[in-house]
């Protein structure tokens, strides 16, 4: 049967096993990397988000409120951009716009 030997079957088997092992390990590593990266990023995001939550105690946003569309306060954001953001949030979350409540949209 040509050059087929027992060792050639072993080579083929080892090859596919190596490919699987390599990609399975990558498959396990990727979520770990993602978790580490997201964990490192979280405090940074929180730090960035923190000032936007402050307006409750200090009404710093007042001077920049450019308009109110329904119930939504638009802070340094025009209506067109706000509409896009609301549409994207609705699409990404799968919640219809009619069921979503936006309190404010603020440029950061």
């Amino acid at each position: 049967m040509g050059n087929l030997t027992t060792s050639s079957f072993l080579v083929a088997l080892s090859g596919i096993v190596i490919v699987f092992i390599m990609l399975v390990v990558l498959c396990l590593i990727i979520p770990i990397i993602s978790k580490v990266v997201l964990a490192v990023q979280k405090p940074q995001i929180n730090n960035r988000v923190a000032p936007t939550t402050r307006p409750k105690t200090e009404p710093a946003a007042k001077p920049n409120v450019t308009g109110v569309a329904g119930e939504v306060a638009l802070i340094d954001v025009d209506e067109k951009t706000a509409a896009c953001i609301m549409a994207i949030v609705s699409h990404e979350t799968g919640i219809p716009l009619s069921e979503l409540i936006f309190k404010s949209i603020k440029a950061i």
Partner: protein
Amino acid sequence: MSDFSFIGTLEKILMESGFAAFANDPRSLIMILVACVLFYMGIGKKFEPLLLVPIAFGILLANFPLTGLLNEPTIVDGATKSPGFLWVIYQGVQHAIYPSIIFLGIGAMTDFGPLIARPSSLLLGAAAQIGIFTAFLLALALGFPPAVAAAIGVIGGADGPTAILTASKLAEAYLPAIAIAAYSYMALIPLIQPPLMRLLTTQKEREVKMTQLRVVTKAEKIVFPIAVAIFVILLLPDTAPLIGMLMLGNLFRECGVVDRLSDTAQNALINIVTIFLGLSVGCKAVAENFLTFETIKIIVLGLLAFMLSTAGGLIFGKIMYKLSGGKINPLIGSAGVSAVPMAARVAQVEGQKANPVNFLLMHAMGPNVAGVIGSAVAAGFMIKVFGG
């Protein structure tokens, strides 16, 4: 000047011309016909024209007699005689330069986001390498030496640069046949895969609508190529040229601070190297190497390898369909062969035929790019075992 004869000079020119030399070896004429067939496939049928057109022209040039285009550098009376133009160009394949640079460009063009969002796609990319190893066994059964059989098997990875790199290291004489088979089958994916997809999956499986992938952050995309390069290259150093360049290209794309390099890698550089790669592959297709029964066997084995890889991906896709409780559409398994993004597009088209609201493209891109990594790992393994 008195003994000058116009007819005599004309006769001398004709006798020393390439036309007269065809009489010594008419096989070159057949190779020119082969080049014309490839021109028709590339230009007329638009099958991978970016590669087939330069390959065909390389074949044409290499088979013109007396050109000296493939002459190696020789030392005559202490002086080095210049090598032929195509011999110089070929050194980029000989030393794995072009396939690696092509991978740099592929990395710069590829979004690994779908793979990061669903890492289980990697398993489909692994399963779709089964064709490489089964074709290797079939090639051995047909009498090819082990190293050549390994290079033929890599056609099943549906990855042109990887097939060329492996062939240049393990089966140089068969490089043109392997490269032409690899690129031809990559071009024929929309014809080869759909019948297999319909044969191996049920209508219910093809209709599965997959849930949206999560958003992958920029930082994850930046860390990914670095981590993969460290892990894969340390484990299989022979994959360094391909995986290293693939991941460098991807880092260019994702890091956001070297846009000019990313742009060069995915446009100008890859285009320039594609010209050289095509010419290099074509110029090795000289009659004595190419017009053999082995070439036909390679073409047939390449097709089998490709079909087996597709089947491997689909069967594993079905396993994942069962394990996930019907959440994974097995069609995306066929994209595990690494022809990016053609295989993913075929999965999208077939999925949409079964269910018009099905959008599998992004889901299929995961296995598709996993296939690129998988075929590079498989090639690295073959080079390690048979490369001496």
